[in-house]
């Protein structure tokens, strides 16, 4: 069915991740003045959570670049101040709905050669901590006071500092650590002069975190584990020993009685400083990167927990009294490629002077796998050994599924060498009742085996056990180790189209071997688990290639296998070779898909739609696709649309930027239905019930929607059913018959019964009798 006027629109649905804020004591969340709301800043969004219900109550889209610090505006409770590295101060209204969220902009212009690292606001006065931008040697820090809309006033310069510094809870002091093993406390509370106090300490190991209490006690977290406490005056020092690896953060409680610390162990340690007791909150979801106690909510501790990929974070707020979680904030966590900026700078060195930069293939594969559950529409982001199940409509993480065994505790020292399994593939049966994952384990280098380069693959079938609720609970039903034989890596697995209620998956390995997996239900014993077994297999050669893909035709009668540049047609039931399709691609094929009678072929250099019936191409386009091209193409089988994301380089100052273009095609036409340019590289494209979702390198999620989706749904309702027509016609006919039968004939005898014993009746009851006989 073709509809002429289809309008497409695009919008962003998710606003990025929690910012990293490295090298500053800043925390990406603040409490409102009444302590009821927590305002969390994402890279492209501000989200306000109501603590009592743990729900997000407001969402503000912002786009003001990299933020280094933030605080609640002391002058106005409905404003928060965001500080950017270049000294911009943006006042954002978080409470009310306003036309533009950024209501005011100030500038704290940093001195030449410095960038803002952290800032704090006291009424009409800002205090900024600047760090010198020079790359080599010890850095210099500068503390400067600004009056709003004024040039900087007083300042203090501290030389030879390490990047570690911190504010006291009441923001009256800043503490720095110098390379000559001194702690420098700068008191900024006074209105005019800032006082500086230096204390030297005994060097144990590199200082990785620092905190200062309101009364001037300094705590130093070290790379080796022990925490050093330096009391005012510097003469009195002591060690707190529990951590055995890097202490990422330390913080004093507002009453200075407790010290909180956390690091790689994923354990929050509370030190009671007077009694030497300590308390633990173990098994947190990540390494503790930051601890924050807010002035407006002193009975809550907020923590930033680092995920295993080192890019994403989870924010956790716990109640100080019982250490019970009050709020967990998670962004969507696609497995982003680390070091994008670095790789772009390297690419710039190579390609900076290229004439046709937009035609140059992207040098690194930034794409990442993601899957959409066919019925709940939740997005599944595999990352490491776990899968994040994210509800993009409610913008909440539904759950985090551990699909392979990992250490629940944090890894310290030599444990960091343990290799976690990696999930490479996630997919669902078309009815959404089964999930299939493929993960890979490499032996840990710790074991030092000869077989250390061997990989073990596990194919796992998960059954949905929670279909009534949100459907995000899964139970492992079957696990197959090395499903394609030892040493053969599964590169792709696809569900069979749901025909005759048969559930099946087809998988292909790097050597071109194909296997079909079927579910075997043992009905005789309901307690027995459903088992997945190998149904058919087709062997591969010995040439290994990462360019492998496999797909079913929509009637599941044919399986297409792409290996390197050739496409083989296999019987969908027996897996026997039917024939080879030649001249499909001149470069390794990254992905294939069947749409109606067209085979969509995505190879390294082109995307083409091949008419299987005519044996000719409907269109061919040149494009540069990375190895994970499969993630950059999504197909809507209902409306026969293809959405493709093409990333390209664009020149920027001293580096390259990745831009992208999204195109929506019909399966048989070169002319795109819709195109959209996006300012960031795209990592995956997904189809969600008639719309397309895309994920970019900022972990933002956008959406392309068409008016067609609504149209189709509407049409379904209007379509008449034979049965309904029959029923209506029957009713009409019955009414006619009934109408004809309504004309009763009356004669003398009809009313005879009414007049029995009539003498004893009143006129009214006689009337009733007559009426009851005539009916109605």
């Amino acid at each position: 069915m073709t509809v002429d006027h289809v309008e497409w629109a695009s919008r962003m649905v998710l606003g990025g991740r929690l910012p990293q804020l490295e090298g500053t004591p800043a925390f990406p969340a603040v409490f409102s003045a009444d302590g009821k709301h927590q305002i969390v800043v994402f890279t492209h969004q501000i989200r306000v959570y109501f603590l009592a219900t743990r729900q997000c109550v407001r969402c503000i889209d912002i786009n003001i670049g990299l933020i280094v610090d933030m605080c609640l505006d002391p002058g106005s409770a409905s404003q928060i101040l965001l500080f950017s590295g270049l000294g911009g101060v943006f006042s954002v209204n978080w409470k009310e709905k306003v036309a533009s969220p950024v209501t005011e902009v100030f500038v704290m212009s940093p001195p030449q050669g410095y960038v803002l690292a952290s800032a704090s606001c006291y009424g009409d006065r800002f205090v900024g901590v600047f760090q010198s931008t020079k790359k080599k040697g010890p850095s210099t820090a500068l503390v400067q006071t600004f009056l709003k809309e004024n040039e900087g006033e007083t300042k203090v310069v501290v030389d030879d500092v390490t990047p570690v510094f911190s504010w006291s809870f009441d923001k009256s002091q800043v503490v720095f650590v110098t390379t000559s093993h001194e702690v420098v406390r700068v008191s900024v509370s006074g209105d005019s002069e800032m006082s500086v106090e230096r204390n030297s300490f005994v060097y144990k190991s590199p200082v990785t975190s620092v905190a200062v209490s309101n009364d001037g006690v300094v705590a130093l977290g070290t790379g080796a584990g022990p925490i050093q406490l330096i009391y005012v005056g510097g003469s009195d020092q002591r060690l707190l020993k529990w951590h055995i690896d890097l202490v990422k953060t330390v913080a004093f409680s507002p009453d200075n009685k407790y010290l909180l610390s956390g690091g790689l162990e994923k354990v929050l340690v509370l030190w009671h400083l007077d009694s030497d007791n300590h308390q633990f909150l173990p098994r947190l979801n990540g390494t503790i990167d930051k601890i924050h106690i807010d002035v407006h909510k002193t009975d809550c501790y907020s923590m930033l927990l680092g995920c295993s990929d080192g890019i994403h974070h989870e924010m956790l707020t716990i109640l100080a009294v019982d250490l019970v979680s009050r709020l967990t904030v998670n962004s969507a966590r696609p497995r982003l490629v680390p070091g994008v900026a670095h790789s772009l700078r390297r690419a710039y060195k190579k390609l900076g002077n290229h004439d046709n930069l937009y035609q140059v293939p992207i040098r690194q594969d930034y794409s990442l796998p993601a899957a959409v559950h066919p019925t709940t529409n939740q997005v599944y982001f595999p990352s490491g050994a776990s899968i994040q199940i994210y509800d993009w409509v409610r913008q909440e993480q539904q759950s985090l599924l551990n699909a392979a065994a990992v250490l629940p505790t944090g890894k310290v020292r030599s444990e960091t060498k343990l290799v976690d399994p990696k999930i490479s593939l996630v997919d669902f049966s078309n009815d959404g009742s089964w999930m299939v994952t493929v993960d890979t384990v490499t032996p840990s280098p710790v074991d030092n085996l000869l077989s250390k380069s061997d990989e073990y693959h596990a194919l796992k079938f998960w059954k949905n056990v929670d279909s009534k609720n949100d459907g995000s609970k899964w139970e492992l039903a079957c696990k197959i180790i090395d499903p394609h034989g030892h040493g053969n890596k599964i590169f792709t697995i696809k569900p069979a189209p749901l025909l005759k209620n048969e559930l099946a998956f087809v998988s292909a390995d790097d050597k071109g071997g194909v296997r079909i997996w079927r579910v075997v239900k043992n009905l005789s014993n309901s307690n027995q688990q459903t088992a997945w077994t190998l149904h058919k297999s087709s062997p591969g050669g010995i040439a290994s290639s990462s360019a492998v893909d496999v797909c079913w035709s929509q009637d599941s009668s044919v399986v297409f296998l792409a290996h390197e540049t050739s496409v083989t047609v296999l019987d969908g039931y027996k897996l026997t070779t039917l024939n080879h399709i030649s001249g499909i691609a001149d470069s390794p094929i990254r992905a294939i898909n069947v749409l109606e009678n067209h085979l969509l072929v995505v190879s390294q250099t082109r995307i083409a739609s091949y008419d299987l019936i005519r044996g000719a191409f409907s269109f061919i386009m040149r494009a540069n696709f990375p190895e994970g091209a499969r993630n950059l193409v999504a197909i809507d089988y209902d409306s026969r649309l293809i959405c493709v994301a093409a990333n390209y380089y664009e020149k920027s100052t001293n580096t390259l930027a990745i831009k992208s273009k999204l195109l929506v095609f019909n399966h048989n036409n070169l002319e795109p239905v819709f195109t959209k340019n996006h300012n960031q590289g795209i990592t995956s494209v997904l189809c969600v019930s008639g719309s397309f979702l895309f994920v970019d390198l900022d972990a933002r999620v956008g959406m392309l929607t068409s008016s067609l989706t609504e149209y189709l749904e509407l049409n379904e309702d209007i379509k008449p059913d034979v049965n309904q027509i029959m029923i209506k016609a029957e009713e009409r006919a019955q009414q006619e018959i009934a109408h004809n039968n309504d004309r009763k004939t009356f004669d003398m005898n009809t009313f005879a019964s009414a007049f029995e014993n009539a003498h004893s009746l009143t006129l009214d009851s006689l009337f009733d009798r007559v009426v009851s006989i005539t009916g109605r």
Partner: protein, 698 residues
């Protein structure tokens, strides 16, 4: 596998009914399934016939008709093979009759009733035990007849049609086909300029019009119905449309233009629906099986003369049969033919590459860059350029200018601008020779597969890969052989042709790089012992194919060549071949040749290989033990690490501590005594034999 026609044979010759159109000559009652043992035919002006189909078609019963009657329609209610009830709509001059014939064995009972118009459709009610008959009249009226106890036909109910309407098509829809409880009659009627689609509900007591849709009328249409699908073939536009029931709107239209010649009369075309989404179209002397969903021609059948499809038995599965009338104009005879058909499963698998729209002229497409603003425009520019290059190459081929050809073909594919090539061509100076170049994905021009195909077809001048020694642009051929888009159709016979040409370089090139080489050709190349390309074909074979494929291919090739002589030579060559991959082929060849079929010399050489292996294994393990012992001695305890640095003899071992650890872990596997066993359990396990027999003492 797939869909096809098979076994066509004549069943019965009709009398000469020259003045009647095909559709009037005979009508067929639809049997309940394709397994039916009998078929019933009503032949105008002669007989109503029953044929037994198995083992061979045989006439088992007939009922004579007056020589002026025309059979309009017929339905059969079957009780058993010997007991049937026929209802027939007859036209005899101006009289129209509904006739009910009861056949019991050889006897037949007849009751008839005159009706006031032409009958176009009759049907026994599904639950009426043959006593209730629905009749569709030509004027659109629907009637319900009942056979009374006395055997008389009585009209029970009538639903009159609209005035002046004519029924074009009618079909009785069985229960539940459209998902409802009742039987239905669907008619297409013509009211002047409008058409009406009507649905009439049929019950045993009552007729009820349930739905009517009016649409603008069309000319020359043929309808066919099955399984809830109503198809309409429009002869003038040569399109078949699927109509949705009950809205009667067009769901999908396909063109069948290649199957219908210009100016084919309406009478020469017939359409039937054997199964869902599959159509059988009869046009003049051709019957075609069409997949509606994939718009392709699955199979076709030809006969001299004209064919009219009488009956196609609807099927849920794949097998069915067709009855058709064949008119032979030479002999002026009309025969009923029967043909078996497999209509397939309606899957993509059956339809691959079977489009009925042949690509008349292969046109190269331009390949736009995905980020281009106007994709269509840049596609056109590219296509024009491809066209220009091909024109130039054709011209050069006809003039046999190899040198100029080489200046054009490879440089163009190597991404040289077309303008600069044309400029260079116009210069008269001698062209320099280029080195042989292979395909390189990063720098070369992206080509349309049909462009590559056309270049090759220009070189070889046809669909077969046959090189002309007078025109052999070697650079281009080498380049094309390295190109992944080398079309599959030219790979057949490619290696033979190159071997015949005696050009070993080209053959090697083909064996190494040419994609999609058929496996049988590779095996044959391997068995053809006198070629010097043994290593190339062997490594190609191993790299791309699995051992199962190789074995079965060897088997096929040997059967074709009818000798197993070559096998031994190949095996011996393989053993000489210096590559690890040879063992795969050795296995395949031994599998094919059998275990005992080898000359003694071959067995000996195999044996000597195995003996060598065993010796080297023994030596290796001995060496390994020695090294292990040496290590143990050199490393009395872990503590003396510092002192070891001074000991020079140990430096070699020490320098590669990592490997040594690995060595340790191997040695420790079965040699627990060499390590200090601290674990008590381990000590214990050493004492207890690894397996023991325990007896149950009572």
């Amino acid at each position: 596998m797939g869909a096809f026609f098979e076994d066509s044979y004549p069943v019965h010759a009709l009398l000469r009914l020259a003045d009647l159109s095909f559709s009037k000559k005979a009508v067929f009652a639809t049997p309940t399934s394709f397994k039916a043992s009998q078929i019933d035919v009503g032949v105008s002006r002669s007989l109503i016939l029953t044929f037994a189909l198995k083992p061979t078609p045989k006439l088992v019963w007939s009922y004579p008709l007056p020589p002026s009657t025309i059979v309009e329609c017929m339905d059969v209610h079957t009780v058993g093979d010997e007991e049937k009830r026929f209802v027939v709509g007859l036209t005899d001059g101006r009289k129209h009759k509904l006739v009910l014939i009861d056949r019991k064995g050889e006897t037949s009972n007849v009751s008839e009733i005159n009706v006031n118009g032409k009958i176009v459709g009759v049907k026994f009610a599904g639950h009426g035990h043959g006593n209730i008959i629905f009749v569709c009249m030509h004027n659109g009226a629907t009637k319900l007849y009942r056979k009374s106890v006395e055997g008389k036909l009585q009209e029970v109910s009538e639903l009159s049609g609209a005035k002046g309407s004519k029924v074009i098509f009618n079909c009785f829809v069985a229960e539940k086909e459209l998902g409802n409880e009742h039987e239905l009659l669907i008619t297409v009627e013509c009211h002047g300029k409008e058409w009406a689609y009507r649905m009439i509900s049929l019950t045993e007591t009552r007729l009820l019009e349930v739905h009517q849709v009016l649409v603008p009328g069309q000319k020359d249409c043929i309808f066919a119905y099955n399984c809830g699908q109503l198809f309409c073939l429009n002869i003038s536009t040569k399109e078949i449309s699927l109509l949705d029931i009950p809205s009667f709107s067009i769901v999908k239209t396909i063109s069948v233009a290649p199957l219908i010649q210009q100016k084919t009369p309406l009478e020469a075309i017939s359409l039937q629906v054997p199964a869902q989404n599959r159509l059988i179209l009869g046009v003049k002397g051709t019957i075609s099986l069409i997949s509606f969903s994939f718009e392709c021609l699955l199979d076709s059948f030809n006969m001299k003369g004209d064919i009219y499809l009488g009956l196609v038995v609807p099927t849920q599965g794949q097998r069915t049969f067709i009855l058709f009338l064949h008119f032979n104009s030479d002999k002026n005879t009309t025969k009923i033919h029967m043909m078996n058909a497999n209509v397939g499963r309606g899957t993509v698998a059956e339809c691959l590459g079977k489009s009925m729209h042949r690509n008349e002229a292969v046109v190269s497409q331009g390949i736009p860059f995905i980020l281009d603003e106007d994709l269509t425009e840049s596609s056109k520019i590219g296509a024009n350029e491809f066209g220009a290059v091909l024109d130039k190459l054709r011209e050069l081929r006809s003039q046999k200018l190899v040198e100029k050809w080489e200046r054009v073909a490879v440089p163009f594919m190597k991404n040289e601008l077309w303008e600069s090539i044309t400029k260079a061509l116009n210069k008269t100076k001698k062209h320099k020779t280029y080195p042989y170049s292979a395909f390189d994905i990063d720098t070369d021009r992206l080509l349309d597969p049909s462009f590559v195909e056309q270049i090759i077809s220009i070189i070889v001048g046809g669909d077969e890969f046959v090189l002309d020694p007078e025109f052999l642009p070697e650079h281009t051929v080498v380049y094309l052989l390295t190109h992944p888009l080398f079309p599959i159709k030219y790979t057949h016979g490619l290696t033979e042709e190159l071997a015949k040409l005696g050009n070993e370089d080209l053959l090697k090139q083909a064996l190494i790089t040419c994609p999609n080489l058929p496996i049988d050709h590779l095996c044959r190349q391997l068995l053809d012992s006198d070629t010097g390309v043994f290593a190339e074909s062997a490594s190609r074979l191993v790299a791309e194919k699995s051992i199962l494929e190789i074995t079965s291919s060897f088997q096929r090739v040997l059967q074709e060549m009818n000798s197993s002589q070559g096998l031994d030579t190949v095996l011996n060559r393989l053993l000489e071949w210096d590559s690890n991959k040879k063992w795969i082929l050795v296995q395949a060849i031994i599998d094919v040749g059998g275990l005992l079929n080898w000359p003694a010399s071959t067995v000996d050489s195999l044996e000597s290989i195995i003996a060598r292996r065993i010796t080297s294994l023994t030596t290796n393990s001995y060496n390994l033990t020695l090294v292990g012992q040496a290590l143990l001695l050199a490393q009395p305890s872990k503590k003396s690490k510092k002192t070891k640095k001074t000991a020079k003899a140990n430096d070699i071992i020490e320098s590669n501590g990592f490997q040594q650890q690995q060595l340790d872990s191997i040695l420790a596997m079965n040699d627990l005594s060499s390590k200090k066993v601290k674990d008590e359990a381990l000590k214990l396990s050493q004492k207890v034999p690894s397996y023991s027999v325990e007896k149950l003492v009572l």
